[in-house]
């Protein structure tokens, strides 16, 4: 167990040995020492948690976690940007040509292989909803630009196609899909 040396009692001048170096038997003092330390450690940990927790998104931020969007004003071929949890969300009303380009891509050649059908809701092929944040280092890509007529990131030149999939440049992944659902033919709720 814990070993502590001898000391000289300052008041009396008498030397005392709390624990002999050879004794392996736990004493009451060892128990108190460890128990006190454990209670202290638990108390400190209990107090550290609120100080860590206060940095989390607060209730007023969490209250902003869903965004409703009316799709009816978005013309075919138009991309609009809406805000959800402080992030840009691209809503692309794709043309027939754009849908065709997205479908005809050779899946095997993609860096982050994913068929277009997995990136849109069934029967809603014309609506592509993606988080407008480049998966490289977080910039917002520009729409209708780049070699695949999808998005082009001005920061480091990542190129996305009309399905928001990474085709060229340093980004590792496709543009992410936010959780969303159609509440009617022309309305979606993000989040």
């Amino acid at each position: 167990m814990l070993q502590r040396g001898s000391w000289t009692d300052d008041r009396t001048g008498i030397s005392a040995v709390a624990h002999t170096e050879t004794s392996q038997k736990a004493t009451r003092r060892d128990f108190l020492y460890i128990a006190t330390g454990a209670v202290g450690a638990a108390g400190v940990a209990g107090m550290v948690w609120p100080f860590v927790s206060q940095l989390q998104p607060d209730a007023s931020v969490l209250a902003l976690s869903t965004t409703e969007v009316d799709l009816s004003p978005i013309a075919e071929g138009q991309i609009v940007t809406v805000q959800w949890r402080g992030k840009p969300i691209f809503i692309s009303h794709r043309t027939k040509k754009e849908i065709e380009e997205a479908r005809s891509a050779d899946i095997a050649s993609l860096r982050d292989p994913q068929p277009d059908a997995d990136r849109v809701k069934a029967g809603k092929d014309q609506w592509l909803v993606v988080i407008g944040i480049c998966t490289h280092l977080g910039c917002v890509p520009l729409g209708h630009q780049g070699a695949y007529d999808g998005w082009f990131c001005p920061c480091h030149g990542s190129v996305y196609d009309t399905s928001g999939r990474i085709r060229q440049g340093p980004a590792p992944l496709n543009l992410a899909l936010p959780p969303y659902a159609f509440t009617s033919d022309t309305k979606i709720v993000i989040g």
Partner: protein
């Protein structure tokens, strides 16, 4: 002070570092080997408690600053946002708000400890004056912090305190407008108070560093008020003796502190501060936080604007001159029978002024306030200078060791028989 360690690092790396920056040696000499008089009582743990409170206030304050906005139209709402929306925001704010009161409770005990045991006397004058400076900085920090929630008491407290400077002849008005950054307390005032409220604790920390440096240079006073004659006989090493004792006292203080935070968090505050600041209407009964009440009573007891302000500041400033106002050569009240009586009268007067400051300023309260104010100054300016000449002090013990042994004859035997139970 004699007895400091001659720290010798064991490892090669530590030796390399120590020869370039003797940081570990400094910590070792000031927190481990530092000799502590062995007769210290629990009143000597308040230095550690105050250090702990400074850390608590800085840590909780930095957290609050992350969620607060010092802009008059939203400041009140941001405090409510902290209380309702921020994860554990209520805890952060109650720690900080009650922490200010705890800080002052501890500092008042610390100051009265110094007054009772003569800790301000040579060679500790600079140590004492640094303490008075810390106290002033604490008051400024507490006052500005109280303004930030931008409630009615914040607003009108700020108005009253800043208007104290309008008592200065000729330039008073100009100074007050300069303090406000406008023609009344407003958003510019709030913003600068927030900036200064964030700055002051770090200035306090700096002066605390000097305070501890001065303390460790001259050595601690002690309940017998006599000098250490033999480090081996009169003192014990800081670690483990003072470290454990201080930690124990801090834990007890945390329990006391927690009771306020968790059971009565608004007891020491004022309910009017939960009403948003309204520059058009002053609350019916405006009082400062409890720790300012004695000085508030002195301010109100003088029937003259400039005189009241001067008396209030003088009540604090007089403390800085205490080492020279007290003419007695004996430090501790233990050996000063007359001083001991006057000390307790002074303590009652000081606390009484606090009570009077919380009461309405009319009738009997004003008369008693005036008597107490006169006594407050008489204690420092008349009683203490004269006592040194007329008081017959008791004989001092030959040494700290003698004083301890004279007191604890019985415990020596018990201690020898079972040292681990001591």
């Amino acid at each position: 002070m004699e007895g400091h360690s001659s720290y010798q690092p064991k490892s090669k790396v530590a030796q390399w570092f120590e020869s370039r920056l003797p940081l570990v040696g400094l910590i070792h000499s000031s927190a481990i080997a530092y000799p502590v008089p062995k007769n210290l009582n629990y009143f000597w743990t308040f230095g550690a408690i105050l250090s702990f409170m400074l850390v608590v206030q800085i840590v909780s304050g930095i957290v609050l600053a992350m969620h607060y906005v010092a802009y008059a139209p939203v400041a009140f709402a941001r405090v409510e946002h902290i209380m309702r929306d921020v994860s554990y925001g209520w805890l952060m704010r109650y720690i900080h708000a009650n922490g200010a009161s705890m800080f002052f409770i501890a500092v008042y005990i610390h100051i009265f400890r110094g007054l009772y045991y003569g800790s301000y006397k040579a060679p500790r004058e600079v140590l004492w004056i640094l303490g008075v400076i810390i106290y002033l900085l604490m008051m400024a920090a507490a006052f500005m912090g109280y303004v930030l929630p931008w409630g009615q008491m914040s607003y009108w407290g700020a108005t009253v305190i800043t208007n104290l400077f309008s008592a200065i002849p000729v330039v008073g008005e100009v100074i007050v407008q300069w303090l406000w950054g406008g023609y009344s307390v407003g958003d510019p005032t709030l913003n600068r108070f927030f900036a200064l409220h964030y700055l002051l604790p770090f200035m306090i920390a700096g002066v605390v560093g000097l305070h501890i440096w001065a303390l460790h240079h001259v050595g601690q006073n002690n309940p017998d008020g006599i000098d250490v004659k033999s480090v081996s006989k009169d003192t014990v090493p800081f670690t483990p003796y003072a470290t454990i004792k201080d930690t124990f006292a801090v834990v007890l203080f945390i329990i006391f502190f927690s009771w306020f935070i968790f059971y009565t968090p608004n007891y020491l505050g004022h309910s009017d501060n939960y009403i948003p600041a309204n520059p058009m209407s002053t609350p019916a009964h405006i009082v400062p936080e409890w720790y300012f009440l004695p000085f508030y009573a002195i301010l109100r007891s003088i029937p003259d604007k400039l005189g009241g302000v001067l008396a209030m500041f003088a009540a604090i400033a007089v403390l800085a001159f205490l080492p020279w106002l007290d003419t007695s050569k004996v430090r501790s009240a233990r050996y000063r029978p007359l001083f001991r009586i006057f000390f307790w009268i002074f303590a009652v007067v000081a606390v009484g002024l606090g009570y009077l400051g919380s009461q309405p300023a009319d009738g009997i309260y004003v008369i008693v306030s005036r008597i107490f104010t006169v006594y407050y100054f008489a204690h420092f300016l008349i009683i203490l200078p004269l006592l040194g000449f007329i008081e017959k002090t008791k004989p001092l013990p030959a040494s700290i060791a003698d004083a301890v042994l004279a007191k604890g004859g019985a415990t020596v035997v018990a201690g020898a028989a079972a040292p681990e139970t001591k």
